[in-house]
């Protein structure tokens, strides 16, 4: 295909979109509604998946150090903990520091346990590279010298991992389902506009146009319909998400979790939806034309 032909196809596709005004508007509106629904759903799914990762990676092993362990022994223990497989970070918190946390959380009445009466242990908090390794790390840590207990949340953590796996799997499944629905809806919208123009295709064949020469403007028109149909819903989603992020993000911040920032979400989402809409529009057009190209 030479440059002149490409220019003609581009010009013809845009002109046809303009001249088929109402039909094009109907198709663009159909695409817009679909993209809006898919976009909102994907934004929710992406954030749920992100939160599930946040919650999961927040699971840490708390290694309680035996009382009367000397500073040198603690240093040795820290070195050994850091050497364990799958450990990414080890942080130390003295029993005095642990008491401060309890006081800040449960009130000043716990100050009575200060000084020598402090029943708490010095604690090493271990973060794993992979949250799934938390259990194994805890087991290994328990066997080390001067360790009173290695606490990882036990069955609760296992249950959390299973739940988060399910959340992600269902989220992915839901996204795939939504994309299939979008493909179906957009392709059908484009199909209806082409069905109403099958006479045009037949006439083009009769004057000697090759199949591809007829196809290209329709395929491009399908892609433009997808693009134009995606613009309005994406603007709505982008502006809407920025507001949701500000409102919900503030509340979530106190719990230590966060939504995806607009920067993280909007560009990948916009790009995905625009590509999906354009590709489905183009393929929808190509597939719908097949039977009319046999004349």
């Amino acid at each position: 295909m030479n440059w002149t032909t490409i220019k003609r196809h581009l010009r013809d596709s845009l002109r046809s979109l303009q001249r088929n005004g109402w039909m094009a508007f109907a198709a663009i509106s159909g695409v817009a509604v679909t993209i809006l629904l898919v976009g909102i759903s994907l934004a929710v799914v992406f954030n749920v998946t992100k939160l599930s990762h946040d919650v999961e990676s927040d699971v840490r092993v708390h290694v309680l150090v035996e009382p009367k362990t000397t500073a040198a022994q603690k240093d040795q223990l820290e070195t050994k903990l850091k050497a364990l497989q799958g450990v990414t970070k080890v942080t130390y918190s003295s029993k005095a520091n642990e008491l401060k946390k309890v006081v800040s959380q449960y009130g000043d009445s716990f100050k009575m346990f200060g000084g020598d009466d402090n029943p708490l242990n010095d604690v090493y908090t271990i973060k794993a590279t992979d949250p799934e390794q938390t259990v194994a790390i805890a087991k290994k840590a328990t066997k080390l010298k001067h360790v009173a207990k290695a606490n990882y949340g036990g069955d609760e953590a296992k249950k959390l991992f299973r739940t988060m796996d399910s959340v992600r799997n269902y989220g992915m499944g839901f996204s795939v389902l939504l994309l299939i629905v979008a493909i179906f809806l957009i392709a059908n919208t484009i199909r209806i506009t082409i069905l109403s123009r099958h006479n045009e295709i037949e006439i083009m064949r009769l004057v000697g146009a090759t199949r591809w020469y007829i196809r290209w403007p329709f395929i491009l028109e399908g892609a433009w319909t997808g693009l134009l149909g995606a613009i309005v819903p994406l603007v709505i989603i982008d502006l809407g998400y920025a507001n949701v992020f500000r409102a919900v993000g503030r509340q979530l911040a106190t719990s230590g979790y966060s939504l995806m920032t607009p920067g993280q979400l909007i560009w990948p989402l916009n790009l995905t939806l625009v590509l999906v809409a354009m590709l489905i529009g183009a393929f929808g057009a190509a597939i719908s034309m097949r039977r009319f190209l046999k004349v």
Partner: protein, 237 residues
Amino acid sequence: MLKLLNVEKRYDNGVSALKNVTLTVEQGEFVYLVGHSGAGKSTLIKLMYRELVPTSGFIQINNFDLRQMKERQVPQLRRTLGVVFQDFKLLPKMTVGENIGYALQVIGKSDSEIKEAVEQVLNDVGLEKQADHFPNELSGGQQQRVAIARAIVNRPKILIADEPTGNLDPQTTEGIMDILQRINNRGTTIIMATHNQQIVDELPHRVIEISEGQIIRDEQGGQYTHELDNNQTTSTR
């Protein structure tokens, strides 16, 4: 130019539309195809521009063997023909100029060549001022003239017309026939299916009459109705 040998066309529902049709048309001829509705004229026309494929027999047009040709060669064949229909078959969302230019666009002509050729052919059919109009802004006669302009713009050797005056009043019909005659005078072969007795009788050319899928008359300078039929009609009166 055009050769048909023992051509038969049977539709999927078992109806036999053409039986054993043998026919030759030479360069520059003007041929009327006449016959009752359902006689097989339109089937014969459709076989010529390869909208239909014969069940058996041999068809050759402009050196294309229509029975053997591959699907992808069909556009090449159609570019060597001009086809005009009763219902005009214009692209509704294209202007008159664009409709005509499309036939040149598909063969890769440049924009300047297209512009020049379209202006010339619109002049030939007397529609030079309507280039920017859409088909639905024109009368039936004007639309048919646009269809003829599109059919001849790439200078085909054969122009096939299926009832080109079927939807037109007598005065407009005369104008269309005048244009077709001028095209024929330039050496283009014209094959025209028609029901219009007045045209055939007043503008005598070769007449091929089809009945029940068979050629029953092939007469140079013939009338719409066979002389024998005319005599019989007269004597019965």
